[in-house]
């Protein structure tokens, strides 16, 4: 055992690698203070500055090698840094979305958003299950409260449902962790000892324990069958919050799932066929998400199911289990982030501007907002995964790695995942096209709520930029992939 001073100095050293998170924490505190000082107007720019700083910190403190920090509770490597970048960018854009509407002047919104981002960071960094649990709880508690930010009846209903489901899930996960602790005696899951203990652990309790742990992760990533909270939450929560939910906690959970999956896969030596299990869950997520989305009337609710389906797609590279697949996952995550957030941006805009909630109310909107409508069409095309958008490239990459994985392993469920995944695109098309369909094919039934003459809001530029990114990433995926390729994935 190290001496006390060693440990303290170690922790101090660790802190120096922890600047992005420290910035976030400092920002969190700062925002609380600013809020208390009633400087509401400062909140929005300040939060963006903090997130910008964190991004900048992440970029300049690019780790050259993997580091175990804080007595091994977290492991800082390039992959997790990339993930953290994605999370920060996601939060950044989500806050930008909130620029329109009342949310921007509520200080707690920023606090809780930062809480979620911090939780996400910890989750992707974690190398100990305690941190995992705490991170998930941090995200969850912030999320429960954020759901309520419409301060209306529906918001509270969604929040309580989210709470019940989330608390049960985390309790189950906790119980699973306790079993794994019983089995291994250690919770540093990236240590070789842990892997060794898992290998020698008896199969029955191990599989039960790992399954229980999986519940919590799947709950956060919104995968079937632990997805049921998301439609209600997406419907009732404020749109910027939904945008945040759809990327940050989800992607953090997916990133952790990718890491965790490698651990429990045990280099293929374990006796549990997690690939098949996860493949089935991915198929179910796609099927359930897409097919349920078919009959949705509410735009946000539809997007909830869409994001469930996308979780299924995000699980594709995870089961592919290759370095290349992980790169594909990052690419997909980034593209998903952009297209999802951009979509919510547009949805939020229309919700604020025209009080549009249901898909049918989009009828004829193209006349008033042609550019935004066209952008939304492109976004939908990207969400379906058709060229010429990055949505296609991302799908191509992940299914390529899945194909390679199938070619090697020959597992039938992997093939099923491959085929179902691609065929799901057709179903997806059906509902994604619904909004463009109403926008363009149907004429407006009633007068628009808002008769403001300015039909060229700033969202045009913002969404335009994001859509442009999607197009550029189709035509030149090398630009992002070149960056991702430089990341050293240590297995």
């Amino acid at each position: 055992m190290d001496s006390l001073t060693d440990k303290i100095s170690n922790n101090l050293i660790s802190l120096s690698y922890f600047t992005p998170e420290l910035i976030l924490i400092a920002g969190l505190l700062l925002l609380i203070i600013v809020d208390l000082l009633k400087k509401k107007n400062l909140l929005f720019p300040l939060s963006l500055v903090v997130l910008g700083l964190a991004t900048w910190q992440l970029l300049i403190s690019w780790p050259q090698e993997a580091l175990l920090l804080f007595e091994g509770f977290i492991k800082l490597d390039q992959a997790s840094t990339a993930w953290r970048l994605i999370l920060v960018i996601g939060a950044f854009i989500s806050i930008l979305i909130s620029a329109r509407g009342t949310l921007r002047s509520i200080g707690e919104f920023y606090t809780l958003t930062f809480g979620i981002v911090l939780g996400g960071h910890l989750l992707v960094l974690s190398s100990h299950l305690l941190i995992v649990y705490l991170a998930i709880e941090l995200m969850s508690i912030s999320a429960y409260a954020l759901t309520l930010f419409t301060f209306d009846k529906r918001g509270s209903e969604a929040a309580v449902k989210y709470l019940v489901f989330g608390a049960v899930s985390s309790a189950i996960m906790l119980y699973g962790i306790s079993w794994i602790y019983t089995l291994t005696g250690s919770l540093f899951f990236l240590e070789p000892e842990f892997t060794g203990a898992l290998l020698s652990a008896p199969i029955v309790p191990l599989s039960i324990g790992l399954s229980l742990v999986l519940v919590g992760i799947l709950f956060k990533s919104g995968a079937v069958p632990f997805h049921v909270w998301s439609p209600d939450v997406y419907t009732a929560a404020p749109t910027p919050v939904v945008a945040l939910f759809s990327v940050v906690p989800k992607l953090a959970a997916v990133a952790f799932l990718a890491k965790w999956f490698l651990v429990i896969h045990l280099f293929g030596l374990g006796s549990i066929d997690w690939v098949t299990i996860l493949s089935i869950l991915a198929i179910l997520s796609m099927l359930f998400g897409n097919f349920s989305a078919l009959r949705q009337q509410n735009a946000k609710r539809m997007m909830a199911y869409s994001s469930i389906a996308h979780t299924g797609f995000l699980m594709v590279p995870i089961v592919s289990l290759s370095e290349q697949a992980t790169r594909g996952l990052l690419f997909y995550a980034f593209v998903f982030l952009i297209m999802n957030l951009a979509t919510f941006l547009v949805i939020h805009f229309f919700e604020q501007k025209q009080r549009i909630r249901n898909i049918k109310e989009y009828a004829g909107i193209v006349k008033k907002y042609p550019l935004l409508s066209i952008l939304l069409v492109v976004l939908m095309v990207s969400l379906v995964g058709l060229p010429p958008t990055a949505g296609f490239t991302a799908k191509l990459l992940i299914f390529t790695s899945l194909w390679e994985s199938y070619a090697v392993s020959g597992k039938p469920w992997v093939l099923a995942l491959f085929i179902f995944g691609l065929l799901n695109t057709v179903v997806a098309l059906f509902f994604y096209l619904k909004i463009p369909f109403y926008m363009i094919f149907r004429s407006m039934e009633s007068q628009p709520v808002d008769n403001e003459t300015n039909s060229f809001p700033y969202e045009n530029y913002f969404a335009g930029l994001l859509v442009l990114a999607l197009l550029v990433l189709f035509f030149k995926p090398d630009w992002l992939l070149g960056f991702i390729n430089k990341i050293n994935f240590v297995f």
Partner: protein, 99 residues
């Protein structure tokens, strides 16, 4: 001395009872109570598996208690909000969102 399995059995029982409470009781506060039971079950496991000379399980249990407190606070706040809007906290009566 107590066989360690007995801890596990009690813990399993506690967990299941908590689960049953969550599943069957309508009242939101009771559900919170059920969740507390489940957390306690996990804690019992952590402590029972904590090997001599190790503190990992103990600390885990401690942090769980902290988290439980935070969760209970936020949960009760939410429940109060629900009560304000719905005048009830029976979960089956809270159904505004339709699909």
């Amino acid at each position: 001395m107590i066989p360690v399995e007995h801890f596990y059995y009690i813990s399993a029982l506690l967990f299941s009872i908590g689960l049953a409470v969550v599943l069957t009781r309508k009242n939101a506060i009771l559900i919170l109570i059920g969740i507390e039971l489940m957390l306690n079950a996990a804690n019992l496991n952590f402590l029972a598996s904590n090997k001599s000379g190790d503190v990992e399980g103990q600390f885990f249990a401690l942090f769980v208690i902290v988290v439980a407190a935070a969760e209970a606070a936020v949960g009760l706040a939410i429940i109060l909000k629900v009560y304000k809007h719905f005048k009830t906290i029976d979960l089956d009566k809270i159904a505004e969102i339709k699909d």
